[in-house]
């Protein structure tokens, strides 16, 4: 048999099959085109049903995804990104003002660093502690010390005589410092819009000064990825109660209760990108706010809010949540909260009445509160939980 013969025969087989189909269907339909009408109607119906199914699936998937995202977002971090090391803190009372010590998280092995500073801050790698110190002249400059208090290095390459560069933090990659900038010249005006703001400098020597904001603030801290900075806003001259530094003219009525003095934290929390763009306020909490502590996973910012509680908020200003510390009935206030490096706990200064201020730690949900110091008459300040265990 030739290929042509075989092919023609196979073609005939197809033609016959189509004829059979025609005979089968012509018994129920008068015209062939009626089959097309039925097909078209079925197609349109299927398309409508399909569109409805797709819309329903999209809605369900969106709902599930949004729910999962919200759950993950609102869940406080539990994944340990780093080990919990020693806590650095300042105290007044045992020795002199703002004397620095370190302590284990369980309250053991208190070590005197023999250094004074009002705002110690661990380097992310635990190798150094950032403090503020007197620079050359009358200005304040950042400085670093080793974990045992030795090796004081003042980072004063910037020689601006009008600018104080105070409390701040070391960037996660260790190359920059973010600092609060202010001036104390030309009193009695404490707030100087031309100077007050958040600045960064090179971590190695304090040079390469960059101004991030023209909004005054204190206690800036880098996000764990180094992309953003959070800081507490300070009160400008407009609407402020005259400062309490003895500068009020005689006869001036006393400031009303709850009013904020010029230059003091005004209860606002700001976030700005590390390049100075995108400044926005994420919270306004009357009362004391600084210092601010960014969670190790970058999703929360922790701050004090007054009373036996602390608060957390997302860096975009959403999800503000109050964490109450009810398991210690005598606790009247929780101040200076600082996140642990593994993200599961925080350290704070707790006031249990009279002259009893001590260091406490607690889980991020406010449970499992542990008092790690047990003293009277010592005022603990600004604890910062580091990664260094040595």
């Amino acid at each position: 048999m030739t290929l042509d013969t075989r092919a023609r025969r196979a073609a005939l087989g197809i033609h016959r099959a189509v004829e059979v189909m025609e005979m089968t269907t012509s018994t129920t339909e008068h015209r062939t085109v009626e089959r097309f009408d039925r097909f078209r109607d079925r197609k349109q119906r299927n398309r409508r049903v399909g569109a409805l199914l797709v819309a329903a699936m999209v809605a369900i998937v969106t709902l599930v995804a949004a729910t999962i995202a919200l759950e993950r977002r609102d869940k406080l971090p539990v994944t340990p990104p780093a080990q919990n090391g020693r806590i650095v803190f300042g105290e007044q009372g045992r020795l002199d003002s703002n004397h620095l010590f370190t302590i284990n998280p369980d309250g053991t092995d208190v070590r005197d660093l023999s250094v004074e500073s009002r705002c110690p801050s661990w380097a992310p790698d635990g190798s150094k502690i950032l403090i503020s110190a007197n620079g050359s002249g009358a200005t304040v400059r950042p400085a670093t010390i080793n974990r045992d208090g030795t090796g004081l290095t003042v980072l004063d390459a910037d020689t601006s005589t009008y600018l104080n560069l105070g409390c701040g933090a070391i960037s996660p990659d260790g190359t920059r410092l973010v600092l609060e900038g202010s001036t104390d010249r030309e009193l009695p005006d404490l707030y100087h819009p031309e100077v007050d703001g958040i600045y960064t400098v090179r971590a190695s020597d304090g040079g390469d000064l960059v101004r991030l904001t023209h909004r005054g603030g204190t206690d800036p801290d880098y996000s764990p990825d180094g992309a953003m900075v959070v800081f507490a806003g300070t009160q400008g001259p407009h609407g402020a109660c005259p400062s309490s530094f003895g500068r009020r003219p005689p006869g001036t009525p006393p400031c009303p209760s709850g009013s904020i003095s010029e230059g003091d934290p005004d209860g606002s929390v700001f976030v700005v990108n590390a390049d100075g763009t995108g400044l926005h306020r994420i919270a306004q909490v009357p009362g004391r706010v600084p210092p601010l502590s960014w969670s190790p996973d970058g999703r929360w910012i922790l701050f004090e809010t007054g009373g036996a509680a602390v608060e957390v908020v997302h860096p975009d200003g959403t999800g503000l949540r109050r964490i109450t510390l009810e398991s210690v009935p005598t606790l009247r206030a929780a101040a200076y909260p600082s996140w642990s490096p593994d993200g599961t706990r925080f350290v704070f200064v707790g006031w249990t009445g009279s002259d009893r201020y001590n260091l406490f730690t607690a889980r991020m949900d406010g449970t499992d509160v542990e008092q790690i110091t047990h003293t009277r008459g010592i005022y603990y300040r600004v604890p910062d939980w580091g990664t260094n265990t040595g």
């Binding site: 048999m1 030739t2 290929l3 042509d4 075989r6 092919a7 023609r8 025969r9 196979a10 073609a11 087989g13 197809i14 033609h15 099959a17 189509v18 004829e19 059979v20 189909m21 025609e22 089968t24 269907t25 015209r31 062939t32 085109v33 089959r35 097309f36 097909f39 078209r40 197609k43």
Partner: protein, 184 residues
């Protein structure tokens, strides 16, 4: 001469006069005249007893949607064959049609197309194993007895290319079906 797109986008000729006057044929007449041949082509190229009719209906549905334009072509039957030839060899499209058919068969639907004889089924199975273009050329050549020029117009390719596909396809078919060399 104006151009329009069909199937995979190659031009199909139509007359300017026809465009001005609108379709010269009604869709119903066109459908009644061409449907059987188009189903046959879909059956040969897809091998799907249950899906061939749907592939053909799909091609006519596209023609119906654009009948204001398709109806003005000199030879709308060329256009609809190109569409069905492309649909039938499209793996994705065949997959969709087959999936729908499986669902309909489960609901008790019986395909109107009968089974082919074992010999004929074997022949078209080998045709479908050829490269896509060769299979289309072989089907149009033997099933519809189309001249080279027609096949070239349907597939939107040069006559020389059609001759090459036909030659290569026949060679391969002869070899795979174990027919004598001379036969090819």
């Amino acid at each position: 001469m104006t151009r329009s797109s069909a199937g995979r986008g190659d031009p199909v000729t139509k007359t300017n006069e026809a465009t001005a006057e609108g379709p010269s044929d009604t869709f119903e007449d066109f459908y009644e005249r061409e449907f059987r041949s188009v189903v046959g082509l879909a059956y040969a190229l897809s091998g799907s007893r249950s899906g061939a009719e749907d592939l053909a209906q799909e091609a006519f549905l596209i023609a119906h949607r654009d009948w204001g334009q398709v109806g003005t072509y000199d030879r709308p039957e060329v256009w609809v064959r190109r569409v069905v030839a492309n649909l039938s060899v499209s793996v994705f499209r065949r997959g969709v049609v087959e999936a729908k058919m499986v669902a309909r068969l489960a609901l008790g639907y019986t395909p109107a197309l009968p089974e082919l004889s074992e010999d004929d089924a074997e022949f078209w199975r080998v045709v479908r194993s050829l490269p896509r273009r060769q299979a289309q050329v072989i089907a149009l050549h033997y099933l519809e007895d189309r001249p080279i020029s027609d096949i070239a117009e349907i597939l939107g390719t040069a006559e020389g290319t059609v001759k090459k596909h036909l030659y290569d396809g026949r060679q391969t078919l002869a070899r795979r079906l174990e027919l004598e060399e001379d036969d090819a």
